[in-house]
């Protein structure tokens, strides 16, 4: 199978806006899946609701596009009944951490053998740009017209604390690292959580002086601090500057997973 065979050809071009990072994340995911040589019949994509969750429908494998926030619960059912299936979950920041927060922490706690790819665009894109639990403090959205007042979620730390076996964060600019992280995540037994900061120029950038997709990618490039450097800085007492975020692999461990075929 070639990479192009993993795309559901009769549904492309997809519905994403020009410059949407979700398409890039879809590329990286399918590239990782293809690199591992997975059988398309043994791969299942599950997704919730939102822009991110439309990604599953553009893959040529079996895909279940479910209800808002519940993708991980549906995926748990699929995986437990057919443990041989490689189950990959596409979710977004609102889907995963707001309405699906409980399912997320419990999927991590169970450490069920899923690969969860969270396209964090800091906003509810599908409904037109409302603030999400991952909207950075001070950002303007349609429901935070005076700037977000609440603390954003750090999904990677949440996943780590809840018990996921593999946790990484990259952006839609770091395509090679992201592809590698997804590949490692797919190979790691137990829950692998890969958070991808993806640009939403239409709903988020538009209100936050990042109107062009290229501007948002430049912002990711500028503000991403690799984990090693962040750790070094932290040891020296240098905190992250405003707007900066850490990218890299946070956890890789081998706690007993659920839903893995016993050999």
């Amino acid at each position: 199978m070639t990479l192009e065979d993993w795309y559901r050809q009769d549904r492309l071009p997809h519905i994403y806006c020009a410059g949407c990072g979700n398409g890039t994340v879809l590329n990286a995911t399918l590239r990782a899946v293809e690199a591992l040589g997975y059988d398309i019949n043994e791969t299942t994509f599950v997704s919730g609701i939102g822009c991110s969750s439309r990604a599953g429908g553009y893959t040529a494998a079996d895909s279940l596009h479910t209800t808002h926030g519940r993708a991980l619960a549906f995926a748990t059912g699929v995986k437990l009944v057919k443990p041989k299936q490689h189950v990959i979950v596409f979710t977004g920041d609102g889907d995963c951490s707001a309405i699906g927060g409980n399912h997320f922490i419990h999927a991590c706690r169970r450490n069920i053998d899923l690969t969860v790819i969270c396209m964090n665009n800091n906003i509810y894109g599908m409904t037109g740009g409302q603030g999400s639990p991952c909207t950075p403090k001070g950002s303007i959205t349609t429901t935070t017209p005076y700037g977000m007042q609440e603390q954003p979620f750090d999904l990677c730390r949440l996943a780590e604390a809840a018990g996921a076996n593999y946790v990484a964060r990259w952006t839609s600019f770091h395509v090679k690292e992201l592809t590698e992280a997804i590949r490692v995540g797919l190979e790691t037994p137990g829950l692998s959580f890969i958070e991808v900061l993806a640009q939403c120029p239409t709903a988020y950038g538009n209100k936050n002086k990042l109107r062009q997709p290229t501007q948002m990618i430049e912002m990711f490039k500028k503000n991403a601090v690799k984990k090693a450097k962040a750790d070094r800085n932290a040891a020296e007492g240098i905190p992250l500057e405003p707007g900066q975020f850490v990218v890299g692999e946070f956890v890789r461990r081998a706690n007993p997973p659920l839903g893995v075929v016993k050999e």
Partner: protein, 377 residues
């Protein structure tokens, strides 16, 4: 039929029925008075090669069994009123994606937390109309421990035959009551029809039911809760397509009402007829045992789709008395199909109707003048 005779409560019988029907995946969340089903499944499923998982809530339980069903297993969950309310979201999802699954609702007093240890039948309308949008489902109502077993088996067969969520609407009385039960062996299993080569994933057959594209079997299909076309792809902007999809999904059940009729008709010549389902059926049968020729009786084992044609069997009927453990939910449904006057005999709080109370309702039928009269018992 052969099998072992046991002395079980209704919930245990339900779990055994599910296992006999080939259920191999159960996702649930503890809730009184249905917990024994989950407990039984937790202990029995691993021994027969199945999987039990206790989810974080009922939203997730319902989601997991839909996922499990698409992965190819006969899947079930069990709950009671408060959990049933949470399941509504994904019941709608199961309806639009035509996912076969079985949901057991051991009903208790509501609304809200209500009476956790008391029987009620207050979810009969919720099961039919609870999720948003237009859809149709099948709901069964057992009135004995043996029926908990038999109707659970039937529920799985109907779910796979019609590709729909099927509900077993038991109540606390039936769930916790112990009776002699025959654990039938080699029950009839009607498997779901697998999608054929070259057939589209949502292309209906002559019965309006598409083939089932089990995940992992090489069909490579897309399943979505959005309005979808025959390929299964989202197509939300066509009014015609949406109407055609919803109508087909409703019609596949409503147009099979005759096949989906499971009733007992007693004394069809009678003038005063009791219509009952679930626990009140037991009291009506007691009354009929005392006075065999006075009253007619229509017992519903399948409540939804409502078997309206059965009302016509009672040609001399002057009154239909509907004893229910709610404020007259199915009585309203009866009203839609008949001009015969209706006596509702609601009883809340968890106690069953007594024979005396049913006689009181029958006496009220003689004097009632309005189309629908409620008797305060």
């Amino acid at each position: 039929m052969t099998g072992k005779t046991e002395f079980y409560n209704g919930n245990t019988a339900c779990a055994e029925g599910a296992l006999a029907a080939g259920c191999r995946f159960f996702a649930g969340y503890p809730i009184t008075p249905s917990t024994e089903i989950a407990e039984r499944m937790a202990s029995r499923l691993p021994k027969v090669g199945g999987t039990f998982v206790q989810m974080e809530d009922e939203l997730a339980s319902m989601a997991a069994i839909v996922g499990g069903s698409w992965a190819g297993a006969r899947s079930m969950t069990a709950t009671s009123g408060p959990g049933f309310s949470l399941m509504m979201e994904n019941i709608g999802y199961a309806a639009i994606t035509e996912t076969p699954c079985v949901v057991v609702n051991v009903q208790r007093g509501g609304p809200s937390t209500g009476q956790p240890t008391m029987a009620a039948q207050g979810d009969m309308m919720q099961v039919r109309y609870g999720s948003h949008g237009d859809y149709s489902i099948i709901a069964l109502s057992p009135s004995s421990v043996q029926e908990m077993f038999d109707l659970t088996v039937k529920a799985f067969n109907l779910a796979d035959r019609f590709r729909t969520p099927v509900f077993l609407m038991a109540d606390e009385t039936i769930g916790h009551m112990r009776e002699k039960i025959l654990l039938r062996e080699n029950v009839e299993i009607i498997p779901r029809r697998e999608l054929k080569e070259g057939e589209l994933p949502c292309e209906p057959d002559e019965n309006g039911i598409p083939g089932f594209g089990t995940f992992g079997n090489g069909h490579n299909i897309h399943i979505t809760g959005l309005t979808h076309n025959e390929k299964g792809y989202p197509a939300t902007d066509s009014a015609e397509l949406h109407e055609a999809m919803v109508r087909r999904q409703v019609d596949k059940i409503e147009k099979h009402r005759l096949e989906l009729t499971d009733v007992d008709i007693v004394n069809p010549e009678a003038e005063i007829v009791f219509i009952s389902y679930g626990a009140p059926t037991r009291t009506v049968r007691q009354l009929l045992a005392d006075e065999p020729d006075t009253y007619g009786h229509l017992n519903l084992r399948i409540v939804w789709p409502f078997p309206d044609h059965c009302l016509d069997e009672f040609k001399n009927a002057k009154a239909f008395i509907v004893p229910e453990m709610n404020l007259g939910q199915i009585a309203k449904e009866v009203r839609q199909y008949t001009n015969v006057k209706i006596i509702t005999a609601p009883k809340l709080g968890g106690a069953l109707h007594t024979v005396e109370e049913l006689k009181k309702a029958a006496a009220a039928a003689e004097t009632a003048t309005r189309p629908v009269t409620e008797v305060r018992l």
